[in-house]
Structure formats: structure tokens, C-alpha cells
């Protein structure tokens, strides 16, 4: 990690945003998934009012599957288009990883911009303090992106498709999902919760491991 990695990250982010704006592959998958899941759950339950803890858990289950469905493309597409080696030739792996983390975070936040209002509306949720709720969503998304991006890089090297990302990412995301749904439930109830410190620490700790390990993934 140094100045040039951050520069690389910015270049990669800019490139990915540009391609995404042209094709809209990634963001449409995430939004469609989130909207479909929300509607199906709402339809199946049939009632607008559900327990806050249940709502929070459902929300994070949706966000988990949305991440593993959509964030794998970040590296898979580079591998399929045969552009990954070009990136490795030109820049540091850490920089590439960081750029993909930022891009995936952006995808997640945009998708949440569409899914969250629908979720709140459909389940008739009263948000306690908005700042706490949004903080939980933001830091939780950082964690999702940091962990899923590294696992996506691993999966892109295996040749396995689809559910592999979910299988490998779940154990890593397990503590994050527990803390995030507990904290979101607390925010919905307007109660104090201890989850937020986990949500803030998680991207830092997991990200440090990822930056240490990412160079081995392409080291043949």
C-alpha cells in the first residue's frame, strides 16, 4: 500500500464506472435482485407489519445474496475478457484490489438507493434515528465489499461459476451479518446497540488481511 496503489485504485474505479455506465450489467443485476427479493418476501408474508428484528435480518439476508450475486463480476469479467494480465503487467495488485473494492461499494450503495426505500415502504418501517440506521447500512456495505471483492478474486481463479462466491464468502461475512442485523434492529427500535463498533472495525481488519494476501492470488 502506497501512493501509487491509491492512484491505481482511482484509475481502475474510473474505468469500471465508465464501462458500467455503458453497459449497466452490474447495477441492474443488483437492483433487480434486491427488488425481486423484497417483493417476494412481502408477498409471502402478506402483512405489512413485521417485527423489527425480523425485518433487519431479512434486509441483511437480501443484501448478502445481492452482494454474492453481483459483486463476483468485478474480477470474473476481467478474467473472461482476458484483461486481468494486462492490469497485472501495468500496476500493483493491491491497487487493483482497492479499486475494485471502491467500485463494488459504489454498486452496493446505488443498489441500496433503490432497494431500501422500497423495503421501508413495503414493510412500513419506522426508522428510529436515521443517522444510526444509515451508518449501519454504510459500514455494513463497506464490510460486504471488502470481503466479497477478495473472495471474488479467488473465485475468478478457480473457473467455478455462480454459487461458489456465496459458499466462500459466507463464513467470512458471518460475524458481519450477525452484527449488522443486530445493529439495524437496534436502530429500527431506537435502542442502543453494540453492533456498530463491529461494523466499523470489520472492514479495517478484513481489509488489512486482504491487502496482505491479494498478491498471492495471481502469483503463479
Amino acid at each position: 500500500m502506497n501512493y501509487s496503489s491509491i492512484w491505481t485504485a482511482a484509475v481502475i474505479l474510473q474505468k469500471d464506472v465508465k464501462t458500467e455506465l455503458r453497459s449497466r450489467h452490474g447495477v441492474s443485476i443488483l437492483i433487480l435482485f434486491g427488488v425481486t427479493a423484497t417483493m417476494v418476501i412481502s408477498f409471502a408474508l402478506g402483512i405489512p407489519d413485521i417485527d423489527e428484528a425480523v425485518a433487519a435480518a431479512l434486509l441483511w439476508i437480501i443484501l448478502f445474496f445481492l452482494s454474492v450475486a453481483g459483486l463476483g463480476y468485478s474480477f470474473l469479467r476481467e478474467e473472461e475478457q482476458m484483461t486481468m494480465d494486462g492490469l497485472l503487467m501495468a500496476a500493483s495488485v493491491e491497487g487493483v484490489y482497492l479499486g475494485k473494492v471502491l467500485f463494488n461499494l459504489m454498486l452496493l450503495l446505488v443498489a441500496q438507493g433503490a432497494v431500501l426505500p422500497l423495503f421501508i415502504l413495503v414493510f412500513n418501517l419506522q426508522i428510529g434515528p436515521w443517522a444510526r440506521f444509515l451508518a449501519a447500512m454504510f459500514f455494513g456495505s463497506c464490510g460486504l465489499s471488502v470481503a466479497c471483492t477478495l473472495v471474488a478474486a479467488l473465485v475468478s481463479r478457480t473457473g467455478a461459476k455462480g454459487p461458489m462466491l456465496a459458499v466462500l464468502a459466507f463464513p467470512i461475512l458471518f460475524p458481519l451479518l450477525i452484527a449488522a442485523s443486530a445493529d439495524t434492529a437496534a436502530a429500527l427500535l431506537g435502542a442502543a446497540g453494540e453492533g456498530l463498533q463491529v461494523l466499523v472495525l470489520y472492514p479495517g481488519v478484513v481489509g488489512a488481511f486482504a491487502l496482505m494476501l491479494v498478491k498471492f492470488i495471481w502469483e503463479e
Partner: protein
């Protein structure tokens, strides 16, 4: 030398069995049930130890690129899965008898489940990789990466939720709630389980090296 060690281990574990059922007294309030700690706690300890071994051998592989370290790492994960299963089953039985349910998402149960998921994911990852070196490298990366969640599982999450789990050794006061006879059998069981793990691990990884050949994978 090996024969002496193996025979010694067999005798040791026989003594632990006898001690656990005949020598050690029962704990107040738990009666005969308390004898499970001589099997449950060592099994859980070995499950965690196995993960530690898998991680350290993974780091060695990434440094040295010798497939023997990969064999050691994956053998540790295999045994870890077995012992985690034993710890979970014995733990669930104990929970049923004392708390009335087999499963209640106690933080320790949560931790062992998380460990399980890591182990299972590790095997699915290995299953998708044919080239021996790439398989070794990527599974080492995964097993080390999974270590990043350990602080959350061990220190942070359990503090946020209440636990009913008895803490015979590592309780907050740092004192030992066992009488000397119980403690003796307990420590002997810990040592015995660790010895069994070391022996099985040694057999397993060497078998894996023989089966895998040198650098060709399956």
C-alpha cells in the same frame, strides 16, 4: 520410537477414560453430566487448534511453496472438521440436559458453527481446483483470510451477547472452579486429545503426500 509413543498414547487415553468415569468426582448441581467436560472441551480445543495449524501451515506454504505444507494444512482442516463435529454433538447433548434445548445460538455454539462453515467452504474451494500448486496457493490464501474473522468471533461478538455456557478454565476471574482430582483428569484429557490429533495429523498428511505424488495433484 513411534511404537513407544503410540502405545503410550493408548495407555494414556485408557487412563483418561477410567479417570473420567471412576476417579473424578461429579460437580455440584450437574451430577453425572459434568463428566462430559473431559470429552467436550478437549474436542472443541482440538477443533480450534486444528484451525490454527491449518493457518500456520498455509502461511508456510505461501512462503516456501512446498506442497508438503499444503498437505499439512489440508489434513489439519479435515481433522478439525471431525473434532468440531464431535464438540458440537457433545455440546448439544449437554445443552439439552441443562438448558432444555439442543440449540440456542449461544456465542460458543455460534463460533463453532462459523468454524464449520470455514472448513466446508475450504473443501469446496479445493474441489474446484485441479492444478496442485494453484489449489495449494488459493486454499492457503483462503484459510489465512478466514483468520481475519477470528477476533470478531472470539472477542467481540460473545461480549455483546449473554452466554449461559459454563467457563471452567477461562472465566473472567481467572480462577479454576474444579477440585484437584477433576482438574487432573481434565488436563490429562486435554493432553491426550492433543496427542491423538498430532498422531492422526501426522498419518494423514504423509498419506496425502504419498497419494498426491510430487506436484501432480490427483
Amino acid at each position: 520410537m513411534g511404537t513407544i509413543l503410540k502405545t503410550g498414547l493408548g495407555l494414556w487415553m485408557s487412563l483418561v477414560l477410567v479417570g473420567a468415569f471412576c476417579y473424578a468426582p461429579t460437580a455440584v448441581g450437574l451430577r453425572e453430566l459434568s463428566r462430559i467436560i473431559y470429552f467436550h472441551v478437549p474436542a472443541a480445543w482440538v477443533a480450534v487448534l486444528a484451525y490454527g495449524v491449518a493457518m500456520v501451515e498455509g502461511v508456510y506454504y505461501l512462503r516456501r511453496r512446498d506442497l508438503r505444507f499444503d498437505a499439512k494444512s489440508s489434513a489439519a482442516v479435515e481433522l478439525g472438521t471431525l473434532f468440531a463435529l464431535l464438540a458440537t454433538i457433545t455440546g448439544a447433548l449437554f445443552a439439552r440436559e441443562t438448558w432444555g434445548v439442543y440449540w440456542n445460538w449461544d456465542p460458543r455454539q455460534t463460533t463453532i458453527v462459523a468454524l464449520f462453515f470455514i472448513y466446508l467452504a475450504y473443501f469446496s474451494l479445493r474441489g474446484t481446483l485441479a492444478d496442485a500448486h494453484r489449489r495449494a496457493r488459493l486454499s492457503a490464501v483462503y484459510v489465512v483470510f478466514a483468520f481475519s474473522v477470528v477476533p470478531f468471533l472470539v472477542f467481540i461478538l460473545p461480549r455483546a451477547y449473554v452466554t449461559l455456557h459454563p467457563s471452567p478454565l477461562l472465566n473472567t476471574g481467572g480462577r479454576v472452579d474444579m477440585n484437584p482430582q477433576m482438574l487432573l483428569v481434565f488436563l490429562a484429557a486435554l493432553a491426550g486429545f492433543t496427542g491423538i490429533f498430532a498422531w492422526m495429523h501426522n498419518l494423514r498428511w504423509r498419506a496425502e503426500v504419498l497419494l498426491g505424488g510430487d506436484g501432480d495433484g490427483d
